[in-house]
Symmetry: C2
Subunit: 137 residues, 2 copies
């Protein structure tokens, strides 16, 4: 197993594509059909990805009438900063000026969120150059 937490996270989520399932779960999708409509993928592929996310403790199955629903676990909810970071990066670099895109908004006032910032333990704002990785070997 990798000793780098980034690598383990990559393993745990499974693949990039699965992150869009997690995004949809944050957006309120719970049923197989909802994920399928949003993602437009083959049922067998979606089933496999949902199973992997469930096996890895990111989603859990909740009985709901005749259907099962998929809900984020605490571990899954903790992926929120990953989704927000990818969203803000996409907004900054993958759209032309004025090109419309979906938006993540503050429910209280409908405003976009504050851009993510990296801070030191004492609150100083950090750039990548202010940090260093300590590897085990």
């Amino acid at each position: 197993m990798a000793d780098c937490p980034v690598a383990r996270s990559v393993d745990a989520v499974g693949d990039w594509w699965s992150l869009l399932i997690v995004r949809d779960a944050f957006d309120g999708s719970r049923r197989f059909g909802e994920f399928q409509r949003s993602l437009g993928v083959a049922k067998n592929i979606l089933s496999a990805r949902l199973k992997a996310l469930t096996d890895n403790g990111i989603l859990e199955l909740a009985p709901a009438g005749a259907h099962n629903e998929y809900v984020l676990t605490a571990k899954g909810e903790a992926l929120f900063p990953v989704i927000v970071a990818l969203r803000q990066w996409g907004e900054a670099f993958s759209f032309a000026p004025g090109e419309p895109h979906s938006k993540l908004l503050d429910r209280r006032n409908g405003k976009p969120l504050k851009p993510l910032e990296i801070h030191a333990a004492d609150g100083r704002r950090l750039t990548p150059a202010d940090t260093e990785v300590h590897k085990l070997s």
Copy 2:
């Protein structure tokens, strides 16, 4: 093209695996051989991933003596919150208590960074439930 910035980011990075190249670039890797030693992958696969990251404006080639070096562009540097978010999630959920792992530290004092937080434009701390996605259609 997707109208969701998360989906466009996923497209732009290419795949999960490519994110480990970006991580290594933040950690100081610049040469093909450095990425290869760190990642332990076949040369042709690494070449294709480096080319895709360069084509997508995340890395750029910089001549350095007899070799080319790969350096993060501004767009690539802006992936730092994504890497930090994945690292912190991995630290929280993918290691046993006390299990050693690589660490991202503040150069000034050697301390771990502050955990990422999601804030509203006015500074309030937000949970996923405090937010909502506005889709275009």
